[in-house]
Amino acid sequence: MAGAASTEIDSATAWGGGWRSPFKVSYGKLMMWFFLVSDGLTFGGLLTSLGFAKFANPETAGDWPMGEQVFTHLPFTHAHAPLIYVAFMTFILIVSSVTMVLAVEAGHRMDKKGVIKWMLWTVVGGLIFLCSQVWEWSTFIAGYDGVISTWADNATLYHSPYGGEYTTVMEHGHEVKKMISHGPTLYANFFFFITGFHGFHVFTGVLFNALVLRNVIRGVYHKRGHYEMVEKVGLYWHFVDLVWVFVFTFFYLV
């Protein structure tokens, strides 16, 4: 009996793939990358279907909003400021991505204080972004040009909040605004779905960052001897930033 097949080997050797990973990363990091690839395909599918909807519908393409005119408000002012507010949101997310990568770097030096400092800033940045998005959405949903007013008709949301014209009417003795037409519904559907899905990712990212920050403060990772968990949530956080880069381009610029 000759040949390799006749040699008896145990199953760990046969199926273990040797004792080295072909990717030279730990299991956790590899799985995080797998998840990010699948999540990236989800967002890729959503954004390409946005393009599909835009190019397939001649009727809606006519009043498809121009990127820089999508959001022109600034808090506390009535100024017409295209892109400024969204640029601010983008900048916040980029900065919080930078503080995250600095936290990872501090973790590689076993600098617990540094990790705490930078992760705290990352959480703060994420929260600022979420609050900014809440303000943006509420401005859209109210539908009026930067004026805080009674929501005239409860159908505003139903009527697609983006764009549209309103008229001033008297209701219960108050002067309120009523929507009389609505903007491009298809665009609004995509807008709220995709930025909402991204916002949900930011929300969970802030949550994970806060949980890991708590563990860092308690010294869990210092005792473990490495800060890989910070790196893993960092990957997720950078991915959220990465998605926003594309959302920014395809909703606000193109």
Binding site: F23, G67, I94
Partner: protein, 124 residues
């Protein structure tokens, strides 16, 4: 049970104080690039809006936006997510299937969208 046959890759990532300085310098460099690219995008968006451009000019700006976006994405993935420093097997396994699939998706959806648009416009 502690397995002694599993390599602990998590510890490979540790680096010294001097290396840390170099890495922080790189991070600062990438931060500047990302900020500048964003500022350029916003400035072009404000000063060259679609409504004031010719069709050809808008196409050029559009392609420019997409190139800048991909550049930004590349820096985020390669430097911030450290994919550039990972083993090449991991890098290729993540990037190539994703790029090929997304390019295919963009291609097939563009073709379909143009055909449907054409059908709506001409066949009615």
């Amino acid at each position: 049970m502690v397995r002694d046959d599993v390599v602990e890759y998590s510890l490979d990532a540790h680096h010294s104080e001097e290396e840390g300085k170099k890495i922080r310098k790189k991070i600062a460099f990438v931060t500047v690039i990302l900020s500048v690219v964003t500022i350029v995008e916003v400035a072009v968006g404000i000063y060259f809006p679609k409504s004031e451009l010719s069709i050809g000019g808008w196409w050029a700006v559009k392609i420019g936006y997409i190139i800048l976006t991909v550049v930004k994405a590349g820096y985020i993935i390669m430097v911030f997510m450290h994919l550039g420093d990972e083993h090449r097997n991991l890098r290729r396994m993540i990037l190539w299937p994703y790029i090929i699939f997304i390019l295919y998706l963009i291609f097939i959806l563009s073709v379909e969208a143009i055909a449907i648009n054409d059908a709506w416009t001409n066949l009615r």
